[in-house]
Amino acid sequence: MTWIWNNSPALPVVLLLPTAIAIPLFALIERRLARWLALAVSLTTVGLSILNLVKALSLGPIHYHMGGWPPPIGIEYVLDPLSAFVLLVINTIGFLVLVHAKKVVDREIPESGKHVPYYAVAVLMLCGFNGIVVTGDFFNLYVWLEIASLSLYGLIAVGSRKAPVAAIRYLILGTIGACFYLLGLGFLFTMTGTLNMADLKAILPAVGHEPAVVIGLGLIVAGMGLKMALFPLHGWLPDSYTYAPSSSSALIAPIGTKVGAYVLIRVLFFIFGTAYVSRTIPVTTVIGWLAAAGILYGSIMAMAQTELKRMLAYSSIAQVGYIGLGIGLANPLGLIGAVLHLMNHAAMKALLFLVAGNFRTILGHSNIARLDGSTRRRMPWTTAAFAVGALSMIGIPPLAGFFSKWYLALGAVAKKQWIFLAVILLSSLLNAVYFFRVIERIYFARAESSAAEPRTEASASMLVPVLVLAAALIGLGVLNAFIVKGVIGKIVTSAMF
């Protein structure tokens, strides 16, 4: 027990990696073991992240030295409230999606020989994201970022016929992003001589005025903007989400973009400090305006789509914009909004993409125009969960989505940014328009065939994660004050305001 307690910061990564290797090897014995291994390890990481969150909240930041070398010399893992919180969000969503994945993978990946490496790559992706979140070293972050991105390309590419094209476009843009990150890191490293985050933070005041440092920060922000699909850099997102298998989209949409947002928050508010990024050089202002433009663009484009998954993809651009907006406000309320929305959007988008996966598996399509009352009668639980998710996206009060928007709006008021406030309100309206279009078709459109169709609800493995997420949206909304005070409040106080 004490062994687990001592090594808990490193254990998620350390356990995920050999499982990814073991999956193909054990699958030689029994094919079905692959999925069970993936489930077991991701459940373990959920447990470990809960332990880590408790530890980080009660003991303060925990430093774990890899190889026993102290920070400027070796690599350290840092668990502070922010990283522990994001770790828990990522692992929980990953576990729920993996539970759901079985039927979707069976249906949407035709060659059965690919199921085993699919699970292995999915576990590797989780491993990469865990590494990004916990590491306290810039170069180590780059390595895990590459692992996660490479796995994402593969997960997208096994989808429909057009998926490889989307994947290679993502690969090229993603590599540009990674190269920007590495180049910006090179500038920072040449100016300061350290790769450790805490060390860099201590050295920055001495060299912060140099153009090379400013441009290094700009390049890192641009690279991470590409990874999180901030507005003008979102080109890869719609196609990737649409053509990927539904389980991949449900993994990427909630987790992939959020990690980019996490790195931005970490770099801007925890290393460079708010005063530097909002007054010395106006990085956050630029991010805020781009995010506002992205919210409007994503919402308007989402209204024009007829395919559920593509609509959700454009909606993702808008929702990532909310996080960007919270970063752009650069005040405590805005940061609360951004971190809260990071969690809420992860849950909402996972739920909606899983529902899209259910539609595809049971109905064989996810075209909005072909959904109607018979869909509701055939799949009552799935459609109910969809309604909960959609209402939460719009921001109906008791549901989780309302509260992050509420804090963002409060932040905009505190900063006297009336345009941002207007953007938040307007986009809620647009959200309502495009989600009510779907809800209207499901609940109020008359079925084309009046014959009573048998109820063909999705099987338990597909239904339970959806229902859990729907319940979580309600629960997160109700417990919102508790989460904000207990967890996010500590995150905000540890940021440099």
Binding site: L17, A20, I21, P24, M66, G67, W69, P72, I73, G74, I75, E111, S112, G113, K114, P117, Y118, A120, V121, L124, C127, G128, G131, F139, N140, V143, W144, E146, I147, L150, S151, Y153, G154, A157, V158, P164, F187, F189, T190, M191, T192, G193, T194, L195, D199, A202, I203, A206, V207, E210, P211, A212, I215, G216, G218, L219
Partner: protein, 103 residues
């Protein structure tokens, strides 16, 4: 569209040149990289790496020691990257051989 691309390219080049002007001279032993202590007074990692590999690991090749010991976790990540690439090629390209034979 083409004009936008070239504009991005020009912007990128200009930004790089601007940054390059303020970089320290190459090969200067007093550059921030090469000092014993950083501006904040913390020990500077490269000079530690030069001084101590023989004492710590009985190995004269500094790069090997950094690669495998001081920053060994990076290298494990690197191996994982290669493994990911291999599994991805497996996932994308490989077809099942047993099935083909049966056909």
């Amino acid at each position: 569209m083409k004009a936008v691309n070239y504009a991005v390219l020009a912007l990128f080049g200009a930004v790089l040149i601007l940054a390059g002007l303020s970089l320290p001279d190459r090969g200067d032993p007093t550059a921030p990289l090469n000092r014993d202590k950083s501006a904040a007074g913390t020990p500077n990692a490269p000079s530690y790496y030069i001084r101590n590999p023989e004492r710590d690991a009985a190995t004269p090749n500094m790069v090997t020691v950094i690669l495998a010991d001081y920053r060994g976790f990076d290298t494990m990540g690197e191996e994982t990257v290669i493994l990911t690439a291999g599994l991805n090629c497996f996932l994308i390209l490989r077809r099942e051989r047993t099935k083909e034979k049966r056909r």
